[in-house]
Subunit: 276 residues, 2 copies
């Protein structure tokens, strides 16, 4: 018997404006799609929403002229920088308020009204929880997941992939530690980032230009949680952030190298002045 | 109208042994599944296969006792290391022969016969091309893609995701540079790593323990190529590897820092000896 995953992304999503009730917009589009296609959200489904429309609804819009300052404001820690040609300000890869390491702190200029840029939602896990509560109620469902996505680069590989920056009602990871492989040997290190794979799968359907910010993912019900409150909402996508202290790549190579040079210089100066 | 993606993974895949004709095994399982479910591979589909069964068929098996030496042999460049407790050898994150930066060079001990570990395929893009040719012929299809996957960790985020390490008949990236967003502004930096998202989507269906090494992805036909030869096979997954010279994270933070310290010491020693 086949295992099966289905992802669909309804069209017809309206432009989102600050103050819009996103749960109502998402619910309306899903309901209209269900009326047309018969595919209503069901128990065990995950509703995936790009964080861009969450930011718009939450009014996380700033003037493009203030982009560099916005990046600075969103930055907790600069991880790496790269000079850019043509008088552009340097590319800054930073850890932002949400713990995410992203170029430009996740501040985004695509698909935003002219002259503006978008900040990431204030608290994407909280936004996901609110959306989950509203959609569970509207569609009369218990086991429903919500994932909020953003598009991110990564070291070592070209190209961007969508990741989960907010989650509610989903187990976030498939923790196989303690399980056994097909040869009966313990699986010791495989912890799959399920919500990141859900985000990636949904991007293949939503795309970047087609005005489809919402997708429904069916077939991952084993990761979808029931009930409300903390046990139903689950751990949230923030738990996927690796603490920088545990991260072998917490700092860009050039930055770390320069810090090593500078520290050696400081030690040498200290020794000099100690000698003097 | 909804955009739609469907992924399915037939069960019943046999254990793969060195020398097995993988294209026949994959074709047999897809044909049996089609007979049972009616879902035969069709124009525009992508067949995703975990590289693990490719390695097994290609005989890329070594004794577990030789694991550390195998990692060394697969290593082109050590990127970062971390000590491990309990007398275990250090974790080595390295760039391997394929350009992939991976823990243990991608040498894998899960789902392998007792006492053995698996190396990655010799040339996953070539393996994908061979599989594509065989499956196009068997199913009488023109536009068919093949993606070979592996499971990888990443900086900054916990949990593993599947990525594409081999590809044939797929455009690899969705290059939106030159396109326009919904506000008519040029999209300047969005290059989506389509095959990595296909790999991630397939993992949600294949899983790690269920004996489903093959999945079919339907709904990404706009990225699937027609014909044989280089234009039909496309660029291959190797093109997603970012050259280390362009990579801001080409070296672990601790390693880069230590190199800075050492270089400063070398400079100081040079200055000393120059002075003397």
């Amino acid at each position: 018997m086949s295992a099966r995953l289905t992802v669909w992304a309804p069209g017809g999503f309206p432009e989102v404006r600050p103050g819009d009730d996103l749960a109502t917009l998402v619910g309306d589009v899903l309901a209209a799609d269900a009326a047309a296609s018969g595919d209503a959200p069901a128990e065990g489904d995950v509703v995936v929403v790009t964080s861009k429309v969450v930011s718009k609804a939450e009014g996380r819009v700033v003037l493009a002229a203030d982009r560099e300052r916005a990046i600075t404001d969103e930055t907790v820690r600069v991880v790496a920088t790269r000079e850019r040609p043509g008088g552009l300000p340097p590319l800054r890869i930073v850890e932002n308020r949400l713990g995410l390491v992203m170029a430009a702190a996740g501040v985004d200029a695509s698909n935003t009204p002219e002259g503006t840029v978008l900040l990431l939602p204030e608290d994407p896990d909280a936004s996901a929880r609110a959306l989950r509560a509203a959609l569970r109620s509207r569609f009369g469902l218990d086991r429903l997941g919500v994932v909020l996505t953003d598009t991110a680069g990564r070291p070592w590989r070209d190209g961007l992939v969508d990741i989960a920056i907010g989650a509610a009602g989903v187990a976030v990871v498939d923790d196989l530690r303690g399980g056994f492989d097909a040869h009966g040997r313990p699986i010791s290190v495989t912890v799959t980032a399920v919500v990141d794979e859900v985000a990636a799968a949904s991007e293949l359907v939503r795309g970047k230009t087609a005005g489809r910010p919402v997708a429904v993912v069916r077939g991952v019900g084993r990761f979808v949680l029931a009930g409300d409150g903390p046990s139903g909402d689950g751990p949230g996508a923030r738990t996927l952030v690796r603490p920088s202290a545990d991260d072998l790549f917490r700092e860009g190579s050039a930055e770390a190298y320069a810090r090593g040079l500078a520290d050696a210089q400081g030690l040498a100066d200290g020794a000099e002045s100690g000698r003097g």
